[in-house]
């Protein structure tokens, strides 16, 4: 047993887990608002990271400005995506909507590969100090920033949904679309806004991961990894998705630890979350915090 490694991996797990949590939150936001399971969530990360990278390297923008421009771009992108592509799908069966987001995912993944190439590209250094020492563990500065940004986003989400007028409208829509509509809430606006916010916040996660590991199409795998997280937390619970993300992140790293120390199977890191996913679906399909649909199937 190597306790130092275990601690280090747990730390990584918590940090990656927060990122899963953020992406999961975006995923749940879309699901709650418009009942769409978004298989293209990973592509939001990918597009955001590439756009930011492009602004930073090509136009030499300072990081903050490049980041802000990326956010604005992603907001418009998410909005247009909903209006042009997903609005016609309202009222279609689940399979069609799922296929639509899968189609979008393939399309944008290939487009990004075409424009930016398949090789991972490193970000220009953002912080002067690469890693700092926290409680005897080496932690990359970017990861600390990621934690901070994630926490800010989570608090922001909480504020938005509890306090703001639009947040209230979104909660009302997710509760019951027809009732919300009859009270004068523009459901179309809510749908479009939820996609815009989701794309924007996902891009934040994308940029953070990009700064750490460089940008490559591997980023879109986050969109798949988010499924175990949100199912664990419950598909319609924002708090649940954050917790689910954390648990999956830690679990993934523990799986890697046990794999490297005892089992020597290799690659367990990648598959472990999916075993968890199957188990959760079998015993508690509505997740830890999800609304329980009482229905015998």
């Amino acid at each position: 047993m190597d306790f130092h490694l275990l601690l280090q991996l747990s730390m990584n797990g918590i940090i990656v887990g927060t990122l899963y949590g953020v992406v999961g939150m975006c995923f749940v936001l879309i699901y709650k608002a418009s009942q769409i399971v978004n298989f293209a969530q990973g592509e939001f990360l990918l597009i955001g990271a590439w756009v930011c990278w492009w602004l930073l390297t090509k136009y030499q923008l300072p990081f903050v400005w490049g980041f802000l421009v990326t956010l604005a771009f992603m907001m418009i992108f998410g909005f247009l995506l909903q209006v042009i592509v997903l609005r016609p799908m309202i009222g279609e069966p689940v399979i069609s909507v799922i296929m639509m987001t899968i189609g979008l995912s393939i399309f944008f993944q290939a487009l990004m590969k075409w424009i930016f190439g398949v090789l991972p590209q490193p970000y220009p250094p953002v912080f002067a100090v690469k890693s700092v020492n926290v409680l005897g563990l080496e932690v990359q500065t970017v990861y600390l920033m990621a934690m901070a940004v994630s926490l800010v986003i989570m608090v922001g989400f909480a504020w938005f949904f509890k306090m703001s007028r639009m947040g209230l409208a979104m909660r009302a829509t997710s509760f019951d679309q027809q009732v919300a509509q009859s009270l004068g809430i523009s459901v179309r606006q809510v749908f479009a806004l939820s996609w815009a916010i989701s794309a924007m916040v996902s891009a934040v996660a994308g940029v953070v991961v990009g700064v750490v590991n460089g940008v490559s199409s591997a980023l879109s795998f986050f969109g798949i990894k988010v499924f175990p997280a949100v199912i664990l937390g419950g598909l319609d619970s924002i708090v649940g998705s954050v917790l689910g993300g954390l648990i999956i992140g830690v679990l993934e790293n523990w799986a890697q630890f046990f794999d490297s120390q005892f089992l020597k199977l290799g690659n367990l890191y990648e598959v472990a979350p999916f075993y968890v996913l199957i188990v959760i679906l079998m015993i508690k399909p509505y997740g830890l915090f999800g609304k329980r649909d009482i229905e015998r199937v």
């Binding site: 689940v94 399979i95 069609s96 799922i98 296929m99 189609g103 393939i106 999916f274 199937v297």
Partner: protein, 357 residues
């Protein structure tokens, strides 16, 4: 009016037999037979390149039909069809290499083995539905693919495994010209079987489960049984398709069995038309020909200004992927019922030409 060749508008069927018939008119039957004969004559008519495409359409079409039975007819979503396809291929190679069973027998046996695996993975389907099932099958995709990577005794690991060509009484079907007949045989048998399945009690039960599961249960349809069964049938088709693929290439590896292959199967049935048997074949043909069309398009622009501006040459693989994504999106927006529906409309247009009502 009601001659053999024409159908009046509206449904004027007066017997159950007329309602259930596979070919509503003699012409439609003759056309199908003509199609089979034309494909059978293809080795004498067209070059090898076209034959390769036909064989591809054949084995992919079989697997896609399985998915259509699951998704289009039973309403269960599966995002892991490619691994069942792969399992069929590996199982057939395994039986052939280790137990010495000739491919002609190992292909159907591989289908049965895949059915067993499909039934196991279908058990969650008894409890889950809609998008939860989609996510469960997504997990199955990753878990099975990981298993293929590990189980060297079964799949040969990352280096893959070899497969003998199909042979019957010493005659080897090891060329495109000859293997086409093997694929054609399976396509005809399995498509007719699927068309007949939908006319039986079990087939109607599957459709009832799709249309409204509660009503189906009220009518005495055993939901658990039929949901699991449709997974089994779907895996059987996938397994046969995969086994044919393995013995066609003479080689099977985990390469290419990833999630994008599963999505391609879904694209085939969406484009062809959910719940349409002939549509499945049309959708498969569309998906097989689409990359060829893109290649042709890129070649015709070779050296032109557009080619230089976009870097078409280097971007060609990505362009092909993009067209797949775009095809799915455009079909879902503009033609959600797929090519089968469009084909019906074209037929109706010509049949009723001046007065289209």
């Amino acid at each position: 009016m009601a001659t053999q060749a024409l159908r009046p508008c509206g449904d004027f069927k007066s017997s159950y037999a007329a309602d259930q018939t596979i070919f509503p008119t003699a012409w439609s039957r003759n056309f199908c037979i003509l199609g089979v004969v034309l494909v059978a004559a293809a080795p004498f008519l067209v070059d090898r390149y076209v034959l390769t495409l036909l064989i591809q359409i054949g084995y992919l079409g079989i697997a896609a039909l399985g998915l259509n039975i699951l998704v289009g007819f039973t309403g269960q979503i599966s995002i892991g069809h490619a691994v069942f396809f792969g399992f069929g291929g590996f199982a057939s190679c395994f039986l052939n290499n280790n137990a010495g069973i000739p491919p002609i027998l190992s292909i159907p046996l591989a289908g049965l083995m895949t059915t067993a695996v499909g039934l196991v993975f279908g058990i969650p389907a008894a409890r889950l539905k809609g998008l939860y099932l989609a996510i469960a099958t997504l997990a199955a995709q990753f878990i099975l693919l990981d298993f293929f990577g590990r189980a060297e005794w079964f799949t040969g690991g990352s280096s893959g495994t070899v497969a003998d060509p199909v042979s019957l009484f010493g005659f080897k079907f090891d060329h495109d010209e000859t293997f086409l007949y093997v694929v054609l045989f399976y396509v005809v048998v399995l498509y007719v079987a699927a068309a007949n399945l939908m006319r039986t009690r079990d087939g109607r039960a599957l459709v009832a489960v799709r249309d409204y599961y509660l009503a189906a249960e009220m009518m005495g349809v055993n939901l658990t049984k039929y949901r699991t069964l449709s997974f089994g049938i779907s895996s059987f088709y996938a397994g046969i398709g995969g086994a044919l693929y393995a013995h066609y290439l003479g080689f099977m590896s985990i390469e290419g069995l990833d999630i994008s292959f599963s999505i391609q199967f879904l694209a085939m049935i969406i484009i062809g038309g959910l719940g349409s048997i002939m549509g499945t074949l049309m959708g498969t043909a569309f998906m097989v020909l689409l990359p060829q069309g893109v290649n042709f398009f890129a070649r015709s622009l070779d050296g032109s200004a557009i080619d230089h501006a976009l870097g078409l040459h280097e971007g060609l693989p990505f362009l092909r992927e993009m067209t797949i994504g775009a095809a799915i999106i455009l079909f879902l927006i503009f033609e959600p019922d797929g090519l089968a529906h469009r084909w019906k409309q074209i037929k109706a247009y010509w049949k009723l030409y001046p007065f289209s009502y």
